[in-house]
Amino acid sequence: MTPHVVNVLLSGVFHASILFLVAAGLQVVFGVQKIFNLACGSFYALGAYVGVSAVGWYADAGGPPALFIVPLALAGLAVGAVGVVVERGLLSFVYDRDETFQLLLTFAVVLMMEDAIRLTWGTAPRSTAGLYLAYGQVRLLGATVPVYNLVVIGASLAIALAIGWLLTRTAFGRIMRATADNREMAEALGVDMRRVSAKVFTLGAALGTLGGALVIPATAAMSEMGIELIVEAFAVVVIGGLGSIRGAFVGALVVGVLRSVAISVYPELEMLLIYLIVIVVLVLRPRGLFGGAAT
């Protein structure tokens, strides 16, 4: 493999690990609550801006640059609490309605969040100056790679494993899977649906905000980044299959790497290729690679 190929693939995997976090948030919420959360991109944007601010405060307070990822990740996770506000304050009113209303309510959050971010942080792009290379770079198979990218890829893998552990090995995971399978039955067996909904939606939101926070050293925060990412995350979950975490993982790799390859080979194709794959998957295998039956 030439260094150029390694570079393209690794930048694709880096993008995929961010995409996976946001898509996993989408999947958790869809799997359990059957809500397609358009606002997951907005949570991602919010996490990015909060991450920039947190790292800024941290640097001003004189924290060692080598540990900047700690306040970054903590801020990303903490702001996920916005999920409980959206869930209790808005979505909980429309659980008995058709899913169209739930979808439109998340679209309302998309609109509100975009301007709330502009109102708070202004319209100019924000970035964390210089922190991207705080960990230096390594040579890997002839290519030069920022260590931060590898840290994020590792963190994303760890989170994927943690979600798997949560779903299969804990009591809460069993409740989530039971609710996803049969909501009424789970409720009849004594599961407090209000608490489960609030927890699951907050978990989904926190995955999105964490993804946004982690991506920010490598790029700049812009108010449109949320509505742009949601269509990529959407491609991920369609390719992988709605509601499946494993699907999100594979789908993120497919979308992340393909996009990276397309940009380096034929830039005009970039997302066009991804959407064409989405359409092919939806037409030939609407439940995606790992999803349940489509209705």
């Binding site: 397609f36 358009l38 808005l90 009113f93 429309v94 008995d96 309605r97 058709d98 899913e99 169209t100 209303f101 979808l103 439109l104 309510l105 679209f107 309302a108 959050v109 998309v110 609109l111 509100m112 969040m113 975009e114 301007d115 709330a116 502009r118 109102l119 509505i227 269509v231 959407f234 491609a235 369609v238 709605l242 830039p267 005009e268 194709l269 970039e270 997302m271 066009l272 959407y275 064409l276 989405v278 359409i279 939806l282 037409v283 609407p286 489509a294 209705t295």
Partner: protein, 318 residues
């Protein structure tokens, strides 16, 4: 009949607007009338057939780009030709898209339409040699009914001949749609919306009817999209973006999807309110997002639902 009276008065008011209202407000009526056409079509799919498209901006953009192309590159300036071409191209694209999309309902239908919309968006954005990329393509002033009006000042043209032309198209579109939804075909669509399984047993080809409704609504979107071009004189890729599709659904819900004229009312209120809010603060999305949330939670039948209030608000539909 009360509704007939209201419609007559409203039409008369719109027709009289250029004589009484300020030019500024008259010019705002142009996007309203274009969106009126688009939403009448969208609601055949949304309100009458029960399918929520999150990619209808695709057909709006196809109509708008057809007009821009014909006037800039094709030397065609007749608006009648442009509208027919937009409708034809809209149909041409809608047939395969609809054939694939109507195999699914609910969230899968919404996702597939969104994906198709984004394909077209990326296409017009990336192939800039053909489409001008994010700068868009100019939409030169079209001639109306064979009359070239290039000598007219722009405002006089838009607030005069073009205004009444748009009004006529909206009126005609509403008349056709009224006939469609009150025909046996329209009744079949409502049956499909309320109970697809029963409709199938009654011998209605559910998929086929959904397909027809999709294509008709796409034609309306393309015609309305072509009408959006001349007032701004330019069309750009954001017309095809998924948030534009979302806004179309928003307008329909705002006016009321359960009523025939609801979407038209929604377009009117949306355009004027957006303009008014933007003249005060730049953050119209924050206010409109909150408004959408309030409508979804408290008034799912929209403004028309608040006015008429004959039936209890539907909780399970759309």
């Amino acid at each position: 009949m009360k509704r007939g009276l209201v419609v007559t008065v409203a039409t008369a008011a719109v027709a009289a607007a250029p004589f009484v209202a300020s030019t500024y407000h008259v010019l705002l009526m142009l996007p309203f009338m274009a969106y009126g056409v688009i939403l009448l079509g969208l609601n055949l799919l949304f309100g009458y057939t029960g399918l929520v498209s999150f990619g209808h901006a695709l057909f709006v953009a196809i109509g708008a780009y057809t007009g821009a192309f014909l006037t800039t590159h094709g030397k065609v300036r007749s608006l009648e030709v442009i509208l027919v071409a937009a409708a034809s191209l809209g149909t041409l694209v809608a047939v395969p898209v609809a054939a694939l999309c109507v195999r699914y309902v609910k969230i899968y239908f919404g996702m597939l339409t969104l994906a198709f919309g984004m394909v077209f968006y990326t296409f017009v954005l990336k192939f800039y040699r053909l489409t001008g990329g994010d700068e868009g393509t100019p939409f030169l002033r079209p001639s109306l009914l064979g009359q070239s009006l290039d000598a007219m000042p722009k405002v006089d043209y838009l607030a005069g001949p073009y205004y009444y032309y748009s009004l006529a198209v909206l009126g005609l579109a509403a008349l056709c749609m009224w006939r469609i939804v009150h025909s046996p075909f329209g009744l079949c669509l409502k049956t499909i919306r309320d109970n697809p399984a029963k409709a199938e047993t009654l011998g209605i080809g559910v998929t086929r009817y959904r397909f027809y409704a999709f294509v008709i609504s796409a034609i309306y979107a393309a015609v309305g999209g072509a009408l959006l071009g001349p007032p701004t004189g330019n069309v750009d890729p954001t017309l095809a973006y998924w948030t534009h599709s979302g806004n179309l659904v928003f307008m329909t819900l705002l006016g009321g999807f359960a009523s025939f004229f609801g979407p038209v009312v929604g377009a009117f209120v949306f355009i004027y309110l957006q303009n008014w809010v933007m003249s005060i603060v730049p953050y119209w999305r924050l206010i409109f997002g909150a408004m959408l949330a309030v409508i979804v939670i408290f008034a799912p039948e929209g403004l028309m639902g608040l006015v008429t209030r004959r039936r209890p608000a539907p909780t399970s539909w759309p």
